[in-house]
Subunit: 696 residues, 2 copies
């Protein structure tokens, strides 16, 4: 499929060119505003001219071959136009028409399938259907169906969005500057993955901003993210569906705690994709990254404002959003004391006082002092740049920024306003030219700053870049569980310690196992794929210390199982070495149909259930990834010598999480879930006390 | 003190009137732009005219009495001007000059004290020093030192701020409309409390927006909040210092978990004050409340947007910020199905589809259907209103809003944009006239919506409106603890169950107590004000079942105390009825020097320490307040029949929290802290197992 003909065509033809309001007319208006005349043709059998430009009666009548058709005519005409176009060399098309798969009817579905087949047959790269088209700002190609204020928007942010409305909103934003804006529509021929790959490879695109509802080709999507991560090209992602609980696979902890959307979090974390919460955060994070001359070399942040009130707000917002202020070095403090008025107290965040905003030399010196502090990687200057400038502070401040930010050793700087407004274009341009982005209002600004710092801190080499995308995508309707002993045997073969155990099918065999294993204390449990809550039905007996107790336990367990769970398949009674109590943890796997096994880790019991203190990671996990998961738990404090308790073997836990992830990868096409709960962690070592493996 | 002469003067005189940049010149420029000529005089011995207006050589030479002096001259001249003014009937002054208490020097402090004395002597209500003045938009009085774009800002938000810079930022915001904007400066004569009271009583002020660094007169502040709560006049509060941990009183749980700033949270919660995180949230919450025709009558929220992308963002932001979407009634769903295109799925949040934005009648019908749903109290219409209007949607939408929102039964509506911008003034005005505020960009918008809904849900009658402000403000340097038995006796007398116990001073007496109380199991513990971590030093013995064990325990405990804590004051050994294990909770009190006892409640142990799952409330607490605290805990789930555990007696816990708050109020001038930890809660009843009372 030739996406170059789609996004970088030599010649385009607008079919259904018009002067009326609507897709045809608005596309023509956009093309007239932004494209060179030699690049496009208008086609409409009912008109000789559109906005004074010659209009051809048919595609066939055009004087030269065409790369891209922009089809503004109704759905019923689309196939005919594509066929006609193919004869004229067309290799790509933009189709605005709706009424395809998105309407949810059988008719729509069939129309879409027919369209896909035709494109395949004719080798046409089709954008849409049901899209708003795109704009290529680099080559000035503008087959886009919505009108917005006329201005030059050429820049370095590449946008791809499954919503045309959101593309329009981004183009309406006065601060955004783009390489490409793509409204992908139903994405049924050219897919989101195609556009993403294109933008990652595109040298004119410095940052990618993506609005995503869902992924169609997980493998290609993962490959694209991997490529971007290695290139360190930032992808800023607005993925909706966080609050949609419909997809969460219920039943086990692992299922309900790692539902579909959380898998995206794990995926994005692996590849350093910046996930955002709304459109404004998407735009401003992308535009800030595109404007900065460099990514910060370290995570330390400082902020300098012109008043105590603003400095206080910055201190509080930093804590709220998760941006830390490291202390300044002594030498920085001394330098600042020299520079600032006597009533100022140098500190991070810094109140540089209002007087400084009228002294560009002094302001520059203070900024330099902050920037030179070895703990600082990114500096924000607090100032509410307005549209109408009523005082001179910004004149002096921008002069100071120009002095400092153009120096070779300069660290990145952003401007942080405290109230929503449209910012004065002249100053925004001036600041952008020296690599200083003007951020949106403070709460957003702090989220953008956190996003930049997180991207700066991301290290591709700490991550395992494989993702075990399953080949078998559907779960069979009747999922089946293994018994506990079968589950433990399976994972034990991957080096996960499960203690000693064996299964008896008679009370005599139970006693024989107890003797053979030379146990001092044993636990007996029913071994059945159908009895999941064993304790609740009297099918677990603890602390058995002699053969007779073991025999008795066997009998009771079988009786209880038969009484409480009639019809359950019983494979015997498991006799296990009784594990000493340790700190209770849980490790689980939920096999996502798109991205494969997602590993969950947390402290067991209420900590997971009431406080939802869990970490997720996509398999396979590197040791660094597993360690990051474990140390991200609030409950990790309970393992580190809390209140007289021992220091537990956290390394064993991390190793086990890695092993579970490896096991899960190898079973990606067979398993549905794995729940190792509890895992006891000790001062030395770890033991999986119970396990449940559920097949697809 | 005559604050009316300060804020509503008949005549004002500007001393140090000038045409230069700076406080004098900028004040004159503001006065020329906004005030009637008959209301002001300029004074400056060096000039005959300022901007073409007559300038008088001295205060004395003015032709009539003056209410308010605006002193733009340096600090050294201020006292003289006040004295001169007093002879001319002056009862109020605005003083811009700095160099007083805020610089932190002895000289500044003395100058401030002298100024305060003089104002008292002359009965002058002084704003400042070190302030930026104020503007009274109702009577067009404008003694304000900063310049911003000239426009009419008259509205209903009353601002009082301890930062002049933040007042300026609010006035710079194109959407804000004010009754008063007050920059209080050092607030040493007229205080924040004075301005707050004035605005609460002022009929032209519908909403108060306050920037606060600290409170000087806690009692008056509390009285003001109470009055506003009863009047249901909203106070929106930006109080910085959340991240300042300097003031947290360390040591006990209660201290570190309820530091000074958290007390403000408790205070604001009691009186329904809306606390915000930054300036933009302050402004837009206040302006939205001032614009709405009514406060929502219920908390149910719905949002209708023009695209699936925007609807998805709204769904996710709702969850992120804590705004719920109730389901629509069946009848609403049917009505929406009729009205919307066939491919739309009626739901809350609602994707009303873009086609509707070009059909005002249809859009109005859909809005009506949503509004009439009995579960809905507030509706947001999603639309990014820009400054330059490039399409017609807003024309049709505003027409629809006008049709619906002017109806008598209409519920409140807000407009919710998705990208930062300055909004088109004409449409903003048009929407505001029908009571529809245009909110800031989505994340802020959702915070504003949550603030409005929380204010709507606040019920003054559920709260105990007393606050036990202490008369004794200082903690003595050597705080002293009571022993456990003394602490328990104290709280037991307030009806807090502590089990049976007595203190023995010999092993024989210990045995005698055991026998007298007819115990089956006892606990022995050292009774000393100096040994806080009793278990750690072997000074607690559990499960004593006979007299001999009790005697032995007595001896061991005394020996361990003497060995491990030489010099500790030992009052004996406590013999207690051994409380059966229950669910472990903690109740504490931290006596704030300004606002008095703040009650803390949480599940004990790791839940408080690692997960910080605690609730705070200012004493005295109503039963409703205590219940709200308990039910706000995540851990409350563990008390409600969690995983086979019993349903615990939550009502007893609530009652005990109320009793602790009553106890604390009566001891507000004696106590520093109280830590009841643990409290065991049972299926029936509750028992305080350990208690520590620390005196001031």
């Amino acid at each position: 499929m030739n996406i170059t003909k789609l996004l970088k065509p030599n010649k385009i033809a607008v079919v259904g060119a018009s002067e009326k309001e609507g897709f045809g007319g608005d596309t023509c208006r956009n093309i007239l505003s932004y494209m060179e005349e030699s690049k496009y043709y208008f086609v409409n059998p009912k008109r000789d001219a559109v906005f004074g430009k010659k209009c051809y009666p048919s595609i066939d009548s055009l004087p030269e071959p065409i790369d891209l058709l922009v089809i503004c005519t109704p759905k019923s005409t689309v196939e005919e136009m594509l066929k006609e176009g193919a004869k004229k060399g067309v290799g790509a098309a933009v189709v605005y028409a709706s009424g395809y798969g998105e309407v949810g009817t059988e008719e729509g579905r069939l129309a879409e399938e027919a369209l896909i087949r035709l494109c395949k047959e004719l080798d046409i790269a089709l954008m849409g259907p049901n899209c708003a088209g795109y704009a290529n700002f680099i080559d000035r190609i503008y087959p886009f169906a919505f009108i917005s204020e006329e201005r030059d928007r050429t820049g370095a942010v590449g946008v791809v969005s499954q919503s045309g409305q959101l593309v329009l909103s981004m183009m309406d934003s006065p601060r955004m500057k783009f390489s490409y804006t793509i409204s992908s529509g139903n994405s049924k021929v050219c897919k989101m993955e195609d556009y993403l790959e294109f933008l990652i490879d595109d040298a004119d695109t410095k940052v990618i901003a993506m609005y995503l509802e869902g992924v169609k080709e997980p493998k290609r999507f993962v490959e694209a993210l991997k490529k971007a991560a290695i290139k360190r090209k930032p992808i800023v992602m607005l993925k909706t569906g966080r609050s949609d609980k419909g997809q969460a696979i219920a039943a086990s902890h692992t299922g309900s705690l790692s539902g579909a959307d959380k898998v995206y979090d794990a995926l994005f974390q692996k590849f350093g994709v910046i996930r955002v919460d709304d459109l404004e955060e998407l735009m401003s994070t992308a535009q800030a990254l595109a404007t900065l001359n460099m990514i910060p070399e370290q995570e330390g942040f400082s902020c300098m404002s012109l008043s105590g009130g603003e400095t206080g707000i910055c201190a509080d917002l930093g804590q709220l959003v998760g941006v830390d202020y490291p202390d300044f070095e002594q030498s920085t403090l001394h330098k600042l004391e020299e520079l600032l008025p006597s009533y100022a107290t140098p500190n991070n965040p810094l109140d540089s006082t209002a007087t400084l905003s009228y002294d560009s030399k002094k302001y520059a010196e203070v900024l330099e002092a902050v920037m030179k502090d070895p703990n600082i990687g990114l500096v924000a200057v607090g100032y509410t740049l307005l549209q109408e400038i009523a005082d001179n502070a910004i004149f002096y401040m921008s002069e100071a920024l120009e002095m400092v930010c153009t120096k070779e050793w300069a660290k990145p700087v952003v401007m942080l306003p405290f109230a929503e407004n449209t910012r004065n274009r002249d100053y925004v341009e001036k600041l952008e030219r020296i690599g200083v982005p003007v951020l949106p209002t403070s709460l957003y600004a702090f989220k953008v700053i956190r996003n930049i710092l997180k991207f700066a801190a991301y290290r591709p080499e700490h991550h395992n870049f494989h993702v075990a995308v399953p080949e078998v995508h559907t779960n069979s309707p009747g999922k089946s569980a293994l018994t506990e002993s079968e589950s433990k045997r399976l994972i034990a073969s991957y080096g996960i310690p499960c203690g000693r155990f064996d299964v008896a099918v008679s009370k005599e065999e139970a006693a024989e196992i107890f003797e053979r294993m030379d146990l001092t204390a044993a636990v007996a449990k029913i071994d059945s794929p159908d009895i999941l809550h064993k304790s609740d039905v009297g099918c677990v007996k603890l602390n058995l210390r002699d053969k007779e107790s073991v025999k008795l336990a066997y009998e009771e367990i079988i009786m209880n199982a038969e009484n409480h769970c009639p019809g359950a398949k019983i494979k015997g009674v498991q006799i296990c070495e009784m594990a000493p109590m340790g700190a209770e943890m849980i490790i689980g796997v939920n096999n996502d149909p798109q991205f494969g096994p997602c590993i969950l880790c947390g402290a067991g019991g209420v900590f997971v259930e009431v406080f939802q203190d869990v970490a997720l990671g996509l398999a396979p996990l590197s040791a660094d990834e597993a360690a990051e998961m474990v140390y991200s738990l609030k409950g990790v404090k309970m393992l580190q010598g809390y209140r007289g308790k021992p220091v537990y073997d956290i390394q064993s836990l991390i190793d086990t999480v890695v092993k579970v992830s490896e096991f899960a990868c190898e079973h990606k096409d067979q398993m549905s879930e794995l729940d190792i709960n509890p895992v006891f962690i000790y001062e030395k070592g770890i033991c999986a006390v119970d396990a449940l493996y559920i097949k697809k």
